[in-house]
Symmetry: C4
Subunit: 382 residues, 4 copies
């Protein structure tokens, strides 16, 4: 399935031209609509959500308490089964260590490596899941592909509703000479709970992950503004193009299976409400957000952002941010009235307005909105 | 009507490539002309103006007094019927509040929200319009589409010459489940005064707005340098392309109606005389200017700039600027001798020179000037 | 004569894609050569020069003394017949006024306007030309198209070798309602001295200027880094494309006349030796340099740079720079050993090396060197 | 052999569109692999290396001791036969002079010129080579094309394993009027040791250098971030395109000779592990690294970087950096565990991970990995 927008780097070596979310913008069309008439709801398997939000599994923004708060605000919180909450009985000192190291700005990666050197305790996974589950919200945790075989029993026993198997780059076909690779297809077939899996970066990987039986596929390699996958690995995924391609895979897989709709969840540099609208406009069914949630007063990282890859013991591929002051409660950040004009509060109220101003009623329709490449943005305020 | 300059973002999802004003430049041709032989006049309905200037309806730059001064300088001043002058009997304290909040730089959006929380008084609309009208200049006020039905009677009773119905994004077809949407076509048909309506962002919206009977269509979504429509809504309108498309709609509508010429008024990042020339060269009949007028000594905002969307109660989509020192009188800014080389005074004298240096006599001819994409600008001074 | 690299800005409005000098680079080919075997000589009419340098007529860098020094170093110095040296019997106080105003950085444009308000004295033109002529170097002065009729007699009587008629934008067909426009073709036909004329920005203007009988055509509108033609007039000339087009006009005119070769002299953002090489590689026969010469110890402006348009009484279109410390003598700047690696000394020694490293013997051959678009430059040092 | 991705700069003058390494990125595909199953080994002539590293011959990073350390870490160290170690019996004072001059930031080029004014002593070449050779690692030194005839005997007598003939730009056909040019083909034919030669910038030069009998060809003109070849010479080589073209030359030469495989070694702005991966993905067999090695504690320049062209007596074409603190030992920088996420330690561990995450086992396979143009990188950390 050849892509058409290619360039010839040099003699006979071609590359696709990819577009990032911030190169793509939404164009209002000839119809407008009342904001009150717009729905941002979506549903995956049996679970319905008012807003198309899946959280990143970063300890910086998700504790059991914030997972619950996100659920109550209409989204899906995802706790990291391999994060601070499952490494430490009381993670408060670990968080404190990171916050102290951030006194002069961003905490160094080496402090994260140190804090994450503590082993994961399966018992704690069970306890954390139970805490979320008891609140009545949809319960989801993330495990890495490498530890899925080992940790999945504890996770499942605890009674999650949705399992998220997520690494920077996940494929449906992992080759190993030691013979212990996870067979995703068999693993998912044996499960009772729906699985979201990723990240994937192109049409083929997305399609193969859909064929494993996953309910959702995460698109993007977690490349937020603090990611250094580019500098460290030479890997970059132009997210707008990746989402469009995964949406094409979704359509082809729907046809191939005669009706199985696998949800596409976008993950990457989605840091304001404009980027959320763009990701959905490119064809995503939901967005996986991390960094923007750190402005919530409840964020356990105290306004610091880091992704789990920043704590990798041998090859960290991202950094931590300096702390910021809270912009409001989690509910404010997601749906509250904005007191600033930077697109970082009332994230989903803004989405509703974009949909209204372009005349769309629901997310599925909105995926067809007109797009434009180019155009400057107001830069005085940025 | 397919546009030809498209890219494939990903599999089977295409986007137009749009160009901003600052990507497009004017190319001198083989003829030059004396500056004194050039006319920048234009006419809309029965109203003739020496310079192709319609002001933004921002309270930062337009009071009744500056609306009069703009009229006397040859342009069209537009007062906001939903701004400080119609919310407050004496707006001076409100302006003072904003200026005080700007002591340390730009005033926060929350201060604007507070000041604009005061309701609009229809009586004040009548009084302000009368004040402008009594001066003898062409009188115009702006109302939002949402409040047109409610406020138009007061506006019309006061005796405006031109009515400007302007929101960030206006369509000819607003859908509502409550059944109270403004039908622009019927509304305009019933009016005795000509209407300017917008903003529109593409060919189709512009054409549909022309078909409502409007005398002028505003192109662009008000995205000046302080706008955050991009970050908040994901909406961006490459203005050069939007102007060209609206000019195409004007041509097609002229043909469709056998001779009705609807004026295209460009609105966006037009902040120096070079940008004015570019907008007209792309096909605009006039430009709607806000931010550049704040350098006039008479500007009521005291050198601070804000657009009305910055005061939105739930979702502000722009910020305010820090104050600047005045560069001269309003007359200097528009037509006076420049004492700086930044394109921010003698705005329309500069336009005359561009027209002369490229050999054109009037604005309608100038819309055919050669354009080029690319080329650096002197950046040491910027 | 349609250009092929066009884009559609919007419906049915096309623009050429132009390239600036810094987008174009030189590619070494399979042959290299000794630097000593390279010649940078060129000849216009009967005058031969060792280096392809025509100075800008800016008072910042050209006095009678530096015009002589440039001539002795192998280039062509051009004195402004409408500058400080012909307005003031003793220009030293005027220069001092500018230098004092530059104490805190760049002198304001208003100071230049003030200093240049003094009228030009034809007697002084005669005296200055004589001073240069007596040194034995080729003598050239610049007059503006507007004052050519008035000032040319004084200039010619003084015995110049080459006359430079230069404005920002010059056309072969100036239209005026007062009937006093200069007819370049008739004027040049009547002259005994060769004329260099410009600036021109595209193929057609260049071709028409060639047809006036000029010996050389200046390409570019003087847009150095301090120019604001872009902000003030909306005019920008991608210089690489303009040079290539003028070279095409030169070729077509050569054919049309059966052998008249009109020299193309590039003028714009040419501020280091790399840019000189690029301009010649694009097809220029020589470069007109101003700003880079201000690093010479002899520069009369004392390290400050300004172009004459910065002093325009009503619409200045450029600024002045802050002063810099001298990098060496004029001879060092042009041909001396470099003690820095910024491409701003040994300007023409660097050109010789580029020609040698790409295997070319002379400038005419070098105009065929391979070019590439793209590629980053070392930015740590810039 | 015409390239297809060309633009028309102006009428009938075309240029290739070239791509730099940082415009190209690697796209994960549908397969992943264990890092432990990946090999980064390569072999040139009889010499096998664990990592595809050839050092730059810069004195800033290579002393006899670091050449040995690089060899022990699996790469190839290259000592400059015309550097400080062969100009001075004891180079320590020269290094000290540079370090002192860097007290306030980067040392000036004039200090480098001064230090390198001392003549090269052939005896010292012999001594330095012997020191490296005695350690048992593969021994390589670099000489310039200009001094090859003069210095090669001393180099060869000392017993090098590999000879590197390297200048900024080297061609297989150097033309000279003095008749003393090096004939590379004859020279190489007479040698017993394999030769690596470069830099070359395009397909043709690379192919001609391959035909001289070289075992390896260096692609790129040494344009690291501190290079000013662009500002001084107007020469820029988009490295991704140059590598791809040289790989095409390698393929064509392989066919032409029925099986001679000449290695392509990329040299330019390769300053983190991501860039290493990109260069290999474009088709390079190895990378020549200089600047990144200065973060090793053993680097003789004490954290300062300079390339030999920065010391050119008449036309320096690069600068020196300010010193940085060491990031670890040379072994750490190349293969150690990273304590930062900037892609500047564990350079080749990162490469192994990129290969694993994209499913490739060895470097030759990895040259086929999918590439994409575009996409933003995390810029908060940069």
């Amino acid at each position: 399935m050849p892509a058409r927008d290619t360039v010839e780097i040099g003699l006979n070596r071609f590359a696709r031209r990819g577009y990032d979310l911030d190169e793509v913008s939404i164009v209002p069309s000839r119809r407008t609509r009342d904001t009150d008439d717009v729905s941002t709801a979506w549903q995956i398997d049996a679970f319905r959500f008012d807003i198309p939000l899946v959280t990143s599994a970063s300890d910086a923004v998700v504790s059991p308490a914030t997972a619950i708060a996100v659920g109550q605000a209409g989204g899906l919180g995802v706790l990291n089964a391999e994060g601070l909450w499952t490494r430490y009985d009381d993670p408060a000192p670990a968080y404190a260590r990171i916050r102290e190291a951030a006194a002069g700005g961003a905490p160094p990666v080496s402090v994260l490596q140190e804090v994450y050197a503590e082993p994961v305790k399966p018992d704690l996974i069970t306890a954390r899941v139970k805490e979320i589950r008891d609140s009545g919200v949809t319960t989801a945790v993330r495990i890495s592909p490498q530890h899925t075989v080992q940790l999945a029993p504890a996770v499942l026993a605890a009674g999650v509703d949705l399992l998220v198997i997520q690494g920077t780059i996940v494929s449906a076909e992992h080759v190993t000479s030691t013979g212990t690779a996870l067979n995703l297809k068999e693993f998912i077939a044996d499960l009772d709970v729906p699985v979201i899996v990723g990240g994937a970066a192109n049409y083929q990987t997305a399609l193969h992950l859909m064929r494993t039986g996953a309910a959702g596929v995460i698109v993007g390699v977690g490349a937020d503004s603090y990611s250094t996958a580019d500098a460290v690995l030479g890997i970059r995924v132009p997210l707008a193009s990746a989402i469009v391609d995964a949406a094409a895979a979704r359509r082809d897989y729907l046809d191939e299976t005669g009706g199985r709709y696998v949800h596409v969840i976008a993950n990457g540099t989605i840091e304001n409400s404009g980027a959320i609208a763009r990701a959905l406009a490119c064809g995503a069914d939901a967005v996986q957000l991390g960094e923007p949630l750190r402005s919530a007063a409840e964020a356990p990282g105290g306004g610091i952002w880091w992704d789990s890859v920043a704590a990798h013991p041998r090859l960290p591929r991202g950094g931590a941010s300096a702390p910021i002051e809270p912009a409001g409660s989690l509910a404010d950040v997601l749906n509250g009235e904005a007191r600033t004009a930077d697109g970082r509060t009332n994230l989903f109220g803004a989405l509703r307005r974009t949909m209204a101003k372009t005349g769309y009623r629901d997310l599925k329709e909105f995926q067809r909105v007109d797009l434009v490449i180019g155009g400057a943005s107001g830069d005085e305020l940025r």
